[in-house]
Amino acid sequence: MPVIASAPFSAEEIAAEGIKPEEYADIVQRLGRHPNKAELGMFGVMWSEHCCYKNSRPLLKQFPTEGDKILVGPGENAGVIDLGDGLQLAFKIESHNHPSAVEPFQGAATGVGGILRDIFTMGARPIALLNSLRFGSLDDAKTRRLFTGVVAGISHYGNCVGVPTVGGEVYFDPAYSGNPLVNVMALGLMETTEIVKSGAKGIGNPVLYVGSTTGRDGMGGASFASAELSDRSMDDRPAVQVGDPFLEKSLIEACLEAFKTGAVVAAQDMGAAGLTCSTSEMAAKGGVGIELDLDLIPARETGMVPYEYLLSESQERMLFVAHKGREQELIDIFKRWELQAVVAGTVIEESIVRILFKGEIAAEIPATALSDNTPIYHHELLKEPPDYARQAWEWSRDRLPTCNEKGIELASGFLTWNQVLLKLLDSPTIASKRWVYRQYDHQVQNNTVTLPGGADAAVVRVRPLANASSSSFVADPSSLTKGVAATVDCNARYVYLHPYEGAKAAVAEAARNLSCVGADPIAVTDNLNFGSPENPIGYWQLAEACRGLAEACTEFSTPVTGGNVSLYNETLDSDGKPAPIYPTPVIGMVGLIPDLSRIAGQGWKTEGDMIYLLGLEVNTPSESVTLGASEYLASLHSTIAGKPPTIDFSLERAVQTACRDGIRRGWIQSAHDSAEGGFAIALAESCLSGQYGAEITVDASPDRWDHLLFAEGGARIIVSVSREHQSDWETYLNLQLDAHWQKIGQVGGRSLRISTANHLWLIDATIAEMQCSWQDAIERRLAV
């Protein structure tokens, strides 16, 4: 008789915890008995994909995770890298997709709160936030509600907690209609001498519960995050937590103060799966056990049962292991900040998590069964790419309507290239994100060097507020020359059409963006947002993307220090038919800027500067520069097809090195990579950002003009260089890039003008008319 038949739970009750029948049998075998309700719930959340990576772990193993500058890799709350001079940076990305789909404001707000806790749990003061957001089309009223709600939630939490939101990306595509993506990345500067780890140590040491109270909010959030969304998901709104940024701000200050006393042995924030996850992970990592008494936990509601205490995801809570005898010192600090702090348990020798409630044992589970030795599923990889991909790859540009130097004939009528340019600038994915970032405080903490929209990556000055031994401020402003740069990137259409090449392109673009501000790429945190791995196509996308990501991170020497996996990003319609999102492996990358006086923004700086294209020449039809998978193809021709551009790693590295060198030698005035919309859009963006026009001449007579203007790829960066450095720069380019650079024009005037060497005018658009399309494109769509 299968063990499940004798279970004290119905099959529905077991399934409701997200546990499969074979997993239930496994639980019984490990416990040597049937679990009780609380234990079943604990297994349910801890064995969810969100907590244990049961589907993705075998794939994540291939990522490079080590390097000279890597101090802490995957497995802790956040990765930590060495910035030199005793400075250390913690950083991490996390998703809050499903909560944001049903309750956008709190879903996004608590996403910010959660990632910040991962940072300050390590002993680092959060110094910057970025976010990577994806929504359906703004023509849809539901999308507008989700989009405005998410932005308001991020604004609410981030602004109040006092951490600047310095950068990010926002995409709009019908693929995300039912399942938006909200990924948040945080950076922090270490303020403690030792990095605070999460493994419990010292038998008999007290376990402290600090922060906010525990209530019934956010019950089972981790399981909810690991299932498909459906038209009944709105009923799961209680699984979404409610955040309190004011409390979190106090918690940051209190925790950092507490860590500096040296009385804290280990710390873990309570995120997904709350008390269950924090106790079992701390115990399993330390190879010890934890006994926790629920009667001592500060509760905000009466009548809660163990199941509710253990699965609550109430926000702004942490678990500490303290040195025995020093608990009062810590409690006093938290009381001063008007926060809860109680001794609620003890570190025990036997490696189990034992939960007490009203004098009895409410749950008793081997710690490793919950957090270490969890199920792993190996899925079969498709032998051939799936049909949708093979069909898409058959697309070739010959299928496009004919065009000439004036424009292109579409079903809706003839469009000049000028009109095409303006239409692309008006597409919400390319358009200005000012409406979004104006709602985020991006300057608090007084270290923001580049403002949002001004450069290809965010640049934040590294200014230690205090060292571990004293609270004195760094006195000499001139000593503060270092900065960090950060970016989040993923062109998910590329990944959808070719997961392997698309993932490589995401890493390459992140590194290129950092190089465009003058930063050396150092390390990666990744957020893998995918559909169901139980679906062969979903697994193929995940596996192929991980392969590309691993290869690219190795090629750029940017190890992965951790991240987040969010699977089951699908919407089931009423008939249960799944509609997955585009596979979206968001790359969060951080880089180091040795000298903040040598950085670049994306806008032209000075009239008369020479403009260069680095990377593949304007007219190169090849696999590396293509209209396949491009924004032009999607926006103008409503076609999602073709292969995305392939990545040539050695060319990428050479171009990026040239860009960084040029910036550091003081030659380059501005740098901007060519991404969505290709060559022409990159030029337009440099014009808009700098408020100068440009005269561009291309020496080419291509067979397709749209390819020349709007094809994507080619490791391209457009830079402007002052005339006085022209000859040094060109000599350098000949050595560094061989033939892969072109002088294409100069900065000046009030228009972007692109013509051919034989005087054919392709584009002639004033800054004012480009601005008109680009600046308020998002606001216009919200105003309906």
Partner: protein, 232 residues
């Protein structure tokens, strides 16, 4: 100049101010916990930006009851300097040190930007390093920064020349399009009748460090510094 920077739970621009007064201007600066009330060593009390006590009831409504604000009111009554920035301005209006109130921005969104301001009066320590009518650029970052007062209060503010900063266009014109939050009379910053208490929504401390760009805010601190040097 002895600077005291008030720290409420939820203050988040406290260290930014300290960075300017101590880090850039080398002035002795002390952070004052909200439960403290001894300000005897302090020349200038600065109430910084942030979300004091979470601002859950109404911005600044709880902060006014704190011991440090009671002491700050006494400090101001002695004619000493008090500066409230952003949330600090809201706190000062709630505490009755400045007239009027700051209400939700006109378009209901938080706004973070850099805006031009005209300096309306330069015979006070706060502004004596500016030229009258000069257009400066300072960062703003607030959700509730729309200045409101009844007609009589507004009239007396204008009659007494208590408006120190006004939102304006880059050319210095006072037009509604350059009003970022719907403030009456384009008001960005006001002082009390005596001129020793200033409240402003823009953040001068965010425009003080040359390595981050603009420095139009630094002159406000420098003006204060030279005024205090003259007094003592």
């Amino acid at each position: 100049m002895n600077v005291g920077v008030v720290v409420f739970p939820g203050s988040n621009c406290d260290r930014d101010v300290v960075w300017v007064t101590q880090g850039l201007l080398n002035q002795p600066t002390r952070m004052i916990w909200h439960e403290d009330s001894d300000l005897s060593d302090i020349d200038v009390v600065i109430v910084p930006g942030g979300f004091s006590y979470g601002d859950y009831l109404r911005c600044g409504a709880i902060a006014r009851f704190s011991p440090v604000m009671q002491a700050t009111i006494k400090h101001a009554e002695q004619g000493k300097f008090v500066l409230g920035i952003c949330n600090g301005f809201q706190v000062l209006t709630e505490a009755g040190l400045l007239p009027g109130a700051l209400v939700r921005n006109r378009d209901l969104h938080f706004v973070c930007d850099r805006v031009p301001l005209s300096v309306e009066r330069t015979d006070l320590p706060w502004t004596n390093h500016y030229r009258t009518g000069e257009v400066i650029t300072l960062p703003i970052a607030h959700g509730e920064g729309s200045y409101y007062a009844d007609a009589d209060t507004l009239k007396s503010l204008e009659d007494n020349h208590q408006v120190l900063f006004r939102y304006c266009s880059a050319e210095g014109k006072s037009d509604p399009l350059s009003n970022p939050n719907g403030s009456l009379n384009q008001i960005a910053g006001i002082c009390n009748h005596q001129g020793n208490v200033l409240g402003m929504m823009p953040h001068p401390e965010r425009a003080s460090d040359p390595s981050l760009g603009g420095t139009d805010g630094l002159r406000l601190f420098e003006g204060m510094l030279s005024a205090i040097a003259t007094i003592s």
